[in-house]
Symmetry: C2
Subunit: 242 residues, 2 copies
Amino acid sequence: MTQPRSITQHLYQQLRAELISCKLRPGSRLRTSELSKRFGTSLSAVREALSRLVSEQLVHADPQRGFRAAPMSSEDLYELTETAMGIEAMCIRSALAHGDHDWETRLCDARDAVLKAPLNTKKEPKRISPSFAKAHHAFHEALISACSNARTLALRQLHQDQSERYRQLCIPYAPNDSLRSGYDEITAAAISRNADLTIKLVAEQFSRNVDRFAEALDSEQTVRFWIEEETAKGNANLATVS
Amino acid sequence: MTQPRSITQHLYQQLRAELISCKLRPGSRLRTSELSKRFGTSLSAVREALSRLVSEQLVHADPQRGFRAAPMSSEDLYELTETAMGIEAMCIRSALAHGDHDWETRLCDARDAVLKAPLNTKKEPKRISPSFAKAHHAFHEALISACSNARTLALRQLHQDQSERYRQLCIPYAPNDSLRSGYDEITAAAISRNADLTIKLVAEQFSRNVDRFAEALDSEQTVRFWIEEETAKGNANLATVS
DNA sequence: AACAGATAAAATATCGATAATCGTTGACAT
DNA sequence: ATGTCAACGATTATCGATATTTTATCTGTT
């Protein structure tokens, strides 16, 4: 955890996190006055942080009408998934070309971890457990960790975060062992340097639940999220930058 | 040309254009005070515009040390080219899948135009003529114009602009007819919906001159650009927003 | 009752000023 | 001569206030 030097930097990270976690609801207005009050900073700092998020497509800026959290839609979800997978494919190709023995070890370790991680918790049986989600991400992170192209990796991070945002949609369903599928095959394909097969298998995993999320977005009912909405009254305090 | 509504918007577009054209030199410091003086606006407006460019990787922000134009390097050029081509490939696949008869017509027209455009001008015989460059861009634009994925298209634009920035490097050489190669073959491959071949041919065109630019960046001599550097004394005036 | 226009309230966009930070110069001691 | 430290100047980061624009409210008329 790197200590942010400037207020703006801190605001940027904080707002980004709240947008990805959907604590700031998609489509909701982001009033600079509200945010500056909540974080105890000036308008300018908030505006600057929001401006950076505009280029990341996490925030939309209607000139003269202020900022709002980027909306969600099933169309965008499908497009995002396609784009993200294309970028993931680039990373995989590079990783398979550059991966050494260390990389293979990391990959196998990550595979073992994800196969052992608990799917859900007793408290929330209808939600994928944070530890499984973490292990899943770590696996794919390990897979592309040998990718040598910094630009592609940066793009991947952006789209990973965007996808993570969509996964905040509350869609209760009991996870089953089918979630464990793919990891073994992907690992084998990657180590044998079969890029096309690796990509195909990863793509299958990626698009597994997309339809479910898309349905939730298209349904008439208002969408629900796992996390609670941030209310205007909240009064977060800035950690003192020591 | 859409009339920008806000000062910040205008600044953003202006700065972006100057960064891509390398009027603002790669790696050079972007002092907010200088820029605000030059454009006759306040510091905040400049900071806000620069902040948006940070996420586009056209500007780097060292906390507490201000902004600077993103540097150039041969390593980055190679990575950019690879990434841009990967994105272009996604667009091509989508376009070939969705392209209708209209699209084929647009593509053929663009091909004819690029084959007729003059390679250079008498005034600058060692530089590719603007009209040929324009026709070249229009051709590839037409090729991907049937792509249905807005996110991929947006990414493409970003990387196109980044590549354009590198092409501002002054590398005099007399263009010859080999520059005309590829367009016929690409058009044919695209219309016959052979995605793999289309991509391969486009990739060849893309990477044609990369080495030349990379050499220029790696050479000991300071790099030169076609356009003149923007000096601090300049005094651009804001168009009155009517 | 419905609509148009005028007015008031809210929020945004912009500015100029202040505080914090960094880089540099120059004095001083070793 | 060289290295360290302090004070200065330059620049950035942040703030609070003002000007503009949008949105909501109210009034009067058809």
